[in-house]
Amino acid sequence: MQFFSVIRWIAWKDLLSEYRNRENISSMFFFAINVILIFSFSFSLDPETIKEIMPGIIWVAFGFTAIIGLGKSFLVEVNNDCMEYFQMLPIPKGAIYLGKFLGNFLFMLSVEIVLFPLFVLFFNLDILDQFLKLLLISTVATIGLSALGTLFSALTVQIRAREVMFPILLLPLSVPIFIGAVEATRGILSGDAFALYRHWIELLVVFDVIFVVVSFWIFEFILDY
């Protein structure tokens, strides 16, 4: 039971400190708005093109947001000398990973949920009736992204050139997430039947399960140092 309470308290601590200073979420949010703005200048905005490029724009914006938000995830622990306390906790270290992962996942998802209405607003999309399906895709894709992001954040937090290394490690390995999320979103936006893009969601779920489990197991070795 201690195991679960550690997960809960670490996630709770992250959410609480985020609620009090709002640094992470606001920087992620405004960064994403900037990305959307730049994209709207970069492409012609007639309705046919929009439908074609929109899934890409959405997921590039979310991916960049993840780089901004997740990369700093463990920085606050290092700055406050919390890593030593984590090492001393008498429980499987994976619990710490799961706690951080849960917090990051909730940050990312809340930013994404706030951003969807802005996509509707800026690009005249007609997706409100599909919102639940979009939420499902966002959830499974964000789980995978946060699972890898949290692990790589712990891996890169103590090195020089942290800001460069984090995306260099994260982006190539999260290719399946982007492919799956973009294709599933395209399916929704073009109004396909669910069965036509269900396999992408299954792919994302498989990815999530594998990387949450592997990261949970391997996190023990990161905290050893």
Binding site: A161, M165, L173, V175, P176, I210, I222, Y225
Partner: protein
């Protein structure tokens, strides 16, 4: 520790691997470029296969070596295994680059394009980026044990990711356009199979030779660094 016994073994036997690799590759190149017949569809162009396929196979083999060394390191914490992993990563990068380059040259006359988002090409490009990330991560870490551990973690995650990348790209492309090339069900003529297998074995031996030499070098560097550290701490005393 495995290290001291192992390093002597490497030094004693490395040259045989090198010699065998050169012999096999010379025979393989001769039979491949001269005596084997040209392909019915592709003509003489097909001969790049005798370099390209071994490059790609050896890159996969090198990355598997990196993966197993990484698991072994996390398990036993033996520094020479980390040196072997580091060596394997550098060599894997070389063979991956060779595979991409020769594939690109082969792609131009056969598919009429230097690059296509074929599942195999794409997963090799991602393998290349992962290896670059691995080597960069190592250069940014100063502490020896941390470098080894974090590198091993990244190598394991990347190895698990690779098949998923491959399948996702395969699905992605198959929805848009048929695969550019598929070797499934294509049988290969006997006079082509001989040079190809000679080259494959030759490349594998070449990789083994490079791995043995490079591991020794990295291990000596490791010993030197440790010795320097000891001398410096004695000076301070």
């Amino acid at each position: 520790m495995l290290s001291t016994r192992f390093i002597g073994w490497l030094r004693r036997y490395e040259k045989w691997f090198g010699i065998a690799a050169v012999i096999l590759m010379v025979i393989g190149l001769y039979t491949g470029l001269v005596t084997s017949s040209a392909d019915y569809y592709q003509g003489e162009v097909v001969r790049i296969m005798y370099v390209h396929v071994p490059f790609a196979q050896t890159a996969m083999f090198a990355y598997s070596t990196l993966f197993f060394c990484s698991i072994w390191y996390l398990w036993k914490r033996d520094p020479i295994v980390d040196n072997a992993a580091h060596a394997a990563a550098g060599i894997a990068l070389f063979f991956t680059a060779g595979g991409l380059l020769t594939g690109s040259i082969w792609g131009k006359p056969t598919w009429n394009t230097w690059w296509t988002w074929d599942p195999r090409l794409t997963s090799f490009a991602i393998l290349f980026l992962t290896l670059v990330g691995y080597l960069m991560l190592r250069t940014f870490l100063d502490d020896k044990e941390k470098r080894a551990t974090f590198g091993a973690i990244l190598a394991i995650i990347g190895f698990i990711d690779l098949p998923i990348v491959h399948f996702s790209v395969e699905w992605w492309r198959s929805l848009h356009q048929p695969l550019s090339v598929s070797t499934r069900g294509v049988s290969i003529a006997a006079d082509m199979a001989l040079p190809l297998s000679l080259m494959s074995i030759g490349f594998t031996l070449l990789f083994t030779y490079m791995l043995m030499v490079r591991t020794q070098m990295l291990y000596l560097e490791y010993l030197l660094e440790a010795k320097q550290g000891r001398l410096m701490s004695e000076e301070r005393l």
